[in-house]
Assembly symmetry: C2
C-alpha cells in the first residue's frame, strides 16, 4: 500500500472503525453500506467515505463494504498484523490491570516482562510473568527484543526510565505517567493522561450546569 | 465569567496547561511569559495567547502571566473548584487503580462507593470503602448524591449499567468499558478506550517503519 500523509484526526478515528467492524464481523454481518455504518457509529456517511478514501476506498458502488475485508485492511493499517513484544514498568494496580487485559495479545501485543522497584512486588507473578527488579530492565529489553514499554509508574521516575528504555532500543512507549516525555524522533509515544481525561469530564459538567442554570446537585463550591 | 463557544481543541489543551502551571506553582515560580511557557510546553507562544484569549486573556503586557492566578482561573474553568461525589463500578485491577489514585480527591473528586457483581470481591475494602453488590447501586447513587460514575466493567454489562445510572440521577460517566455509551443529552461522558490508544501507538510504529524502511526488529508478521 502506498503511504500518503494522513491527518491525525483520521488516524484517531481508525481504532473506532476497527472496533465496530470487529463487532459486526463477530455478529456475522458480511457487508454494510456507509449509510448503515453511519447510523451505528453516529458519524456521517460522508465522513466515513472520506476517511476510507484516504486508504483507497475499500467500497464497491452499490454493494457497500465487505465487513471482513474492511476489518482486515484497517487492521493492517493499524499494524494489527504485526507482533510486538511488550514490557510493563510499574507492577501496581494499573500495571496489573493492563497485564491482565487479554485482548492485547489477540491484537499482537505480547506481554513479555514486568518490572518494579518495590522489593515487596519483585518475584511475584502477574499472569505467569515474574516481576523483575529495575536493575534488570536494560538487559531484558535488549535480549528479549522488546519494542514497546508501558509506563505505569509515578511521574518522578518516568523521564529517567524512558531514557534508559530509548538507549536500549525500545521503539515505542505507552505512557500512563503524568508527565510528557521528551524522546528522540523515531520513538513513538502515546500518552494516556488519566487526570487530563477526568478534568475534561469535570469541564463538561461545569459547562453544562452553567449553560443550563442547573444547580450543582451534590456538587458544591470547594472549601479548600 | 461569560460563557462563549470554545472549541474542543482548546478544551482538550486546558488540562495540560493546568498540569504545567501546577508544576510551576509547586516549584515556586511566580510569573512566566508566554514565550517561556511555550518553551516548556513545546507549543507556540501564539497558540498559548490564542488559547488564553478564549477566556479573556489572563496576561498583562510586558509582565507575563501570574502563575498562581492563571492556575486558579484555568482550574475554575475546568470545574476544579467544585466537589463531585464519585462511585467506581467494577472493583478489578483498573477500578482499584483509580480508587487508589489520591490526586483525584485533591481535585474535588471524592471517592464514595465501589460496586462489583463478583461475590468474591463484595465486602472487601479498597481505600477504606467497602465493595457493595450491584443490587445496591440505585439506592446508593440516589441517597449519597453521586454525580459521577466510573465504569471499569467489561463491555457486555456497560450499556445496561449506564442506563441504570442515568435513571438514578447521575450527571457524568467516566467510561473505561470498550463500548460507546448512548446517553441522553445532558449526561456527560468521557471515554478512555485503552485499546484504541494502543492501536494508535501500533499505527505510529507501523507507519514509521514503512516510511523509514526499517525492519521490524522483534516485530514480525503474525502467523494468525
Amino acid at each position: 500500500m502506498e503511504t500518503k500523509l494522513i491527518s491525525q484526526a483520521v488516524i484517531g478515528r481508525l481504532p473506532r472503525y476497527f472496533r465496530y467492524l470487529g463487532d459486526l464481523k463477530d455478529a456475522g454481518v458480511e457487508r454494510i453500506s456507509s449509510q448503515e455504518l453511519s447510523e451505528i457509529m453516529k458519524v456521517t456517511a460522508s465522513q466515513i467515505r472520506q476517511d476510507f478514501n484516504n486508504f483507497g476506498g475499500f467500497g464497491q458502488q452499490g454493494y457497500g463494504y465487505n465487513v471482513e475485508y474492511l476489518y482486515k485492511e484497517i487492521g493492517k493499517i493499524l499494524g494489527m498484523d504485526q507482533v510486538h513484544n511488550l514490557v510493563i514498568i510499574g507492577a501496581g494496580n494499573l500495571g496489573s490491570a493492563l497485564a491482565n487485559y487479554m485482548n492485547f495479545e489477540r491484537r499482537g501485543f505480547i506481554f513479555r516482562g514486568m518490572f518494579d522497584k518495590n522489593p515487596d512486588l519483585i518475584g511475584k507473578e502477574v499472569r505467569g510473568i515474574r516481576i523483575l527488579p529495575m536493575e534488570e530492565l536494560e538487559r531484558f529489553v535488549r535480549e528479549k527484543d522488546i519494542d514497546i514499554a508501558v509506563l505505569t509508574i509515578p511521574k518522578a521516575g518516568a523521564v529517567e526510565v524512558a531514557e534508559r528504555l530509548v538507549q536500549n532500543g525500545i521503539r515505542a512507549i505507552w505512557n500512563f505517567a503524568h508527565v510528557d516525555l521528551n524522546v528522540p524522533k523515531g520513538i513513538q509515544v502515546e500518552n494516556v493522561h488519566l487526570s487530563d481525561s477526568l478534568m475534561k469530564l469535570s469541564y463538561k459538567i461545569n459547562r453544562y450546569m452553567q449553560e443550563n442554570g442547573s444547580t450543582a446537585g451534590s456538587a458544591g463550591e470547594r472549601k479548600a
